[in-house]
């Protein structure tokens, strides 16, 4: 699996995700600077977490117009899998590769803690190493993780089974207490219509080895490895 990790000014989880990818696949990913206009041949493109451009204007708004993103959008149209984590998810919504927007958390607070998520489906390239409806624990670390989309978009996402992960309690119930960001429908992550693009606010790379206190993020990278070799 040849992966490329895009590095924006202000990215701060680029090296974490590179380590997670290397540990799972045995190959260090290519790190690609945002100002570049081409990517090495890639089976997977990762947009990492962080605070690209200091979150100026809106989270992900500036990064969405980086030179490299033109190439990412072009490759996305050709089916290259794309994983956007946290700020990467925000960048994906700002480019229009995923619908909706990540707004300021309803509590107005930066939230950094473990949350329980329900894996909504396990038949995608990102999720086949999970059980369907499995409850996993992955940390979030964001100020703008409050997923919002208009009613029509939400209905389409639900109808097309495009919710990847939802914040739930340990029993798998999507209640308000399990959704500190205030996301609509407890959404933690969504797919594009072909399930080749995943954007999620939780950080699977932060729970991909024992030393970090959890392994619930690792199956996501193992799923990708199985499909992309």
């Amino acid at each position: 699996m040849r992966a490329s990790v895009v590095v924006f000014p202000g990215s701060n989880c680029d090296r974490d995700v590179a380590v997670a990818l290397r540990n799972v696949s045995g190959h260090a990913p290519d790190m690609v600077w945002h100002g570049d206009s081409s990517l090495p041949a890639s089976d997977l493109i990762v947009l990492p977490g962080g605070f690209s451009y200091g979150d100026y204007l809106r989270s992900g708004a500036m990064a969405a117009h980086s030179p490299i993103m033109k190439e990412v959008v072009r490759l996305a149209a050709r089916g290259t899998p794309i994983l956007g984590i946290c700020n990467g998810f925000q960048v994906l919504t700002e480019t229009g590769l995923l619908p909706g927007v990540l707004m300021c958390n309803a509590s107005l607070k930066f939230i950094c803690r473990n949350l329980t998520l329900r894996v909504e489906r396990n038949d995608t390239i990102f999720s086949r190493h999970y059980q369907e409806k499995e409850i996993i624990t992955i940390p979030i670390a964001n100020h703008d993780g409050n997923y919002f989309a208009d009613r029509e978009t939400l209905d389409r996402l639900e109808g097309e089974n495009r919710i990847a992960f939802r914040y739930t309690n340990a029993r798998g119930e999507a209640d308000a207490a399990s959704n500190p960001t205030g996301s609509q429908n407890n959404i933690a992550g969504i797919y594009d219509k072909n399930c080749r693009i995943l954007g999620l606010m939780p950080h699977p790379e932060r729970v991909s080895e024992d030393l970090l206190g959890g392994l619930d993020g690792k199956p996501l990278f193992e799923s990708l490895l199985e499909v992309l070799h």
Partner: protein, 80 residues
Amino acid sequence: MRAIVKITLKNGVLDPQGKAIEGALNSLGFGGIDSVRQGKIIELDLDETETEKAEAAVAEMCEKLLANTVIENYSYELVP
């Protein structure tokens, strides 16, 4: 020519910052506030001198970058 762009949240979009400001105003004793919505103002100094061309350019800037039309409305005025 100067363009003053005003960006506001669409109706129905939750505005946690506006809510917090409303709460603070209430606690300061300012009564009679039904709601507070927070937005942004962006001022642009343009080389363009023709109003029509400036309007077209500013509208495109709003659509492409300055506003996220999923949640935000924009309006602008041009000041010669």
